[in-house]
Amino acid sequence: MVDFLLAAAGFVLLMVALGLVRILRGPGDADRMMAAQLLGTGGIAVLLMLGAATGVAAMVDVALTLALLAAFSSIAYVRAADAALPHEGGAERDP
């Protein structure tokens, strides 16, 4: 079980790392942010699996913190990008 969870953690890490190619290629800012977002979620999954494999319960707390905060930079990006376009007045609208 421990080996399986470690291997699964490694697999997920590898997958989200491949997704990082989007940071290199872009083309838009949104694509880059999405790659960071995927890495955040993948990082949470890896932490949970490592925690279960090693039996360190506190790793779930680290995952909780990441789950709360990992989306913040994407939110900051959307806010700042909206504010940078003057003709929209920075207001967001629902679709």
Binding site: L6, G10, I23, D29, A58, V62, L68, S73, A80, D94
Partner: protein
């Protein structure tokens, strides 16, 4: 074996992202690379058995620093400071490369030549931790064995905030910090800002409270609370208070002042600055943490918002 492979993959990824952060052509792409780098560092700390450090890195490196840098990068978008004249000369590249390579080489030699068995204070900590009443060795070090570091850190944070505020234009001094946030109260961001903070506050206080016995503590908890406050401000549901408010200034310095006062109580009762009287160590440590928590939350939140920019209505 799986563990070693995992670590090697992690190290390669961290290095790759660092290279990207340094060489990327656009500042924005470099910042996103740095955010990913911060997230991966959290995993590195876990692998180095520093769960407390991982928590701090997740909260600060993965959260707040990213928000700060993304905000700046998006604001400076399109204003890449790359007029041809400013590109460094080739000789500078070679010199910088040589110096950096030399630093790396020296550090590699140092890492490989570290003494074996490694010197450690873990035994002393294990021996003396019983007197403090807390079970998390990191908290014991931060608040009982080396409280001066923690005190100065709290003061440095307040000084940093004063430094940020002092960048305000003259007519904005005393006003509300940060740009005007306007957004739709029924928008998606406002929705997230109503759902997340209640959960976030519970988690922040949990991380703070569990810090006495398990990984966690006031810095991590305060960072989470500050992030929740920041979310409310970004969604336009709340505004930063004007920096001239009396309660705000009292709140900012209350934590460090209580910390110093408890240090002086130590002089009177135990004959030493920060000496805790026998049996009272745990209550005093909890008192310091409770006093520091709100101040740290205020300082961290306001550091994120930046200097006052709007003309103050005094």
């Amino acid at each position: 074996m799986t563990g070693v492979l995992f670590n090697v993959a992690l190290a390669v990824l961290v290095l790759g992202l660092a290279v990207w952060t340094i060489i990327a052509r656009e500042a924005f792409a470099a910042v996103v690379g740095f955010i990913a780098y911060g997230l991966l560092l959290t995993l590195v700390w876990v692998q180095l058995q520093g769960i407390d450090v991982a928590l701090t890195e997740a909260a600060i490196g993965g959260g707040l620093t990213g928000v700060l840098l993304i905000g700046a990068a998006a604001r400076l978008r399109g204003i890449e400071a790359a007029p041809g004249a400013e590109r460094p000369r080739n000789s500078l590249y070679w010199m910088a490369g040589a110096v950096s390579a030399a630093v790396t080489a020296v550090l590699v030699i140092c890492v490989l030549a570290l003494p074996d068995p490694a010197p450690t204070l873990a035994h002393e900590v294990a021996l003396n931790i019983v007197d403090t009443g807390v079970a998390n060795p990191i908290t014991a070090v931060l608040l009982a064995f080396r409280p001066m570091d923690t005190l100065l850190e709290a003061i440095v944070l307040v000084f940093a905030l004063i430094g940020v505020w002092s960048l305000a234009p003259d007519d904005s001094w005393g006003g509300r910090p940060g740009p005007v946030q306007q957004s739709d109260p029924n928008g998606i961001l406002a929705y997230a800002a109503r759902i997340l903070p209640p959960l976030g506050i519970v988690i922040g206080i949990y991380i703070f409270w569990t810090g006495a016995d398990y990984p966690g503590g006031k810095f991590q908890g305060a960072t989470i609370l500050a992030a929740m406050w920041l979310l409310l401000m970004m969604a336009g549901l709340s505004e930063a208070p004007p920096i001239s408010r009396g309660w705000l200034r009292v709140g900012l310095v209350a934590g460090p002042l209580v910390f110093i006062a408890i240090g002086f109580i130590g002089v009177l009762t135990a004959g030493d600055f920060f000496g805790y009287p026998q049996g009272l160590a745990k209550p005093l440590i909890v008192a310091i943490e409770l006093a520091l928590m709100p101040s740290l939350t205020l300082v961290l939140g306001l550091l994120m918002v930046g200097a006052p920019q709007r003309v103050a209505k005094l």
